[in-house]
Symmetry: C2
Subunit: 295 residues, 2 copies
């Protein structure tokens, strides 16, 4: 089918660090998908419209086509819902300021420890829709990974970690960069670093530097530095999130390149996890959200 034959009755949009991903929906079925990079800082209802129009220009959508969107939409902070609560709530409201029917999925907030999620609640809802009755802990990987305890259809509590952003910052801007190499991550070096960080998590800032000094004194294999960087930071996260994963029913939702690292790290600690793709879970969650919308 060519683009001009794509005539969605609604559009599902997942906005986040990965950019914008949009699906042309016919009822509960996606008939087409497009995506683009997008600066998450521009995610105002006003800034979103032109970017979305451009992205879906090939589809036959009108000003009246409903759009359901999840992610950190600016100005949506007031609408954050407090946990414990269901990931999507009872109904989905139309954004007040938007010229066309835009339905942002509200994020979740937690008072203590202070925390917010915007977008992950929809992936959790998607996972719950595809796995009815599932109870356990979901780790959503990303720049700010989130561990969420799910019980009886509600998100009970959650905790964010800036692990992904730290890996990215240290890999791109720090003095460690020359020691990181260009090869794929060596998985044996990775799990060794995870285990090292798990046993002595407080030594992180010192241990990170040994990636560089170890390499200065005795050059290492090309895949070792990046493996150690990821392993030390993910290991430190596992140390702090131990109460979330130890002896729990576990699921990982994220991009494959990240979930495979978390899965290997957890597996090495005797904690296997079900792995689900972030985009697929977002689509399932947006579909569930659309059913709640007052269109």
């Amino acid at each position: 089918m060519t683009d001009k034959q794509i005539n969605p009755d609604w559009v599902a949009v997942d906005a986040g660090a990965h950019g914008l991903r949009a699906w042309a929906m016919r009822g509960g079925r996606a008939v087409a998908q497009v995506q683009s990079g997008f600066d998450a800082d521009d995610l105002t209802p006003a800034g979103l419209r032109p970017a979305l129009d451009q992205l879906t220009a090939g589809w036959q959508t009108g000003a009246g086509t409903p759009v359901v969107i999840c992610g950190p939409l600016e100005g949506g902070d007031a609408a954050l819902r407090a946990v414990p609560c269901t990931p999507l709530g009872e109904t989905l409201s139309r954004a007040a300021g938007a010229p066309s029917p835009l339905f942002p999925v509200p994020g979740l907030r937690q008072k203590s420890p202070a925390d917010v999620m915007q977008g992950e609640e929809t992936r959790i809802a998607g996972f719950m829709a595809l796995n009815p009755g599932w109870d356990g802990v979901i780790c959503l990987t990303g720049p700010h990974s989130k561990w969420a305890e799910v019980s009886a259809g509600e998100v009970v509590s959650f905790q964010s970690f800036m692990t992904g952003e730290l890996v990215d910052l240290l890999g791109k801007h720090s003095t460690l960069r020359p020691a990181l190499g260009t090869s794929a991550i060596d998985m044996a070096d990775f799990t060794e670093a995870v285990s090292d960080a798990l046993s002595r998590p407080e030594r992180l800032a010192a241990r990170l530097l040994t990636i560089r000094s170890g390499n200065l004194l005795r050059p290492q294999a090309d895949g070792t530095g990046l493996a150690q960087l990821n392993g030390l930071l993910i290991g430190a996260e596992l140390a702090a999130a131990r109460a979330y994963w130890l002896g729990q029913n576990l699921a990982l939702i994220g991009a494959p390149e990240q979930t495979r690292l978390y899965a290997a790290a957890l597996e090495a600690q005797g904690a296997p996890a079900t792995v689900a793709d972030a985009a697929r879970m977002a689509l399932a969650g947006l579909t569930a959200a659309y059913r709640l919308a007052n269109t």
Copy 2:
């Protein structure tokens, strides 16, 4: 005295993250000082010469004026001396490739845990020259802070932490930036964050994010975010370096804006430290090194 009357018989140079700092020396006395920003990556013997000539252009130096320099001079890795050892060694050798008499102070290396210092050994030597018979632990602040155990005139062991670089990276490039404010650090918020990190150091990557999420949910005073960022990271360093400072005779060497934070953090843990200025210690160390040079 005008510049043209400055006629040093040798030049002392401290190269590091702060740039280049040079002193015109008459025997053991500094008669003038100049400094400039300088990319530490260009610290090859060949790249150093033009930068140094430009910096000291106003002084009456010749091709034969000895230069004693400390810092991470590239190509000097082979000369690293293994701890335990005195900070400066017995003699100071002239660099082989340099056209004029250049005397780089060799750095120190430690096999396990793998670590190197280049420049700090000279500040330690300066502190020891000014405080004869001093035994204890010296913390040298900077992008990569170093804790060094000093006993009977030798550096016994040391450990580096990338705390300063992490504060800088997170302050400039991370999603925390909007929550950091522009005011001076609130010292009460700082010591509270230090104590928080010391009691639960493994929660660092989660706690850092609460600087942002706490601010999103309830806007904080302008000096709070930066105080928390510094407090959490310095607190995590203190947790990992506990064996270095607990019950020890302590000295801090660094730039005043950093040593005041470390001093406050240690003071709050009942561990007061003598504070010394990095540039002054470098000058004293370079002077001690000059006496060992085969000029």
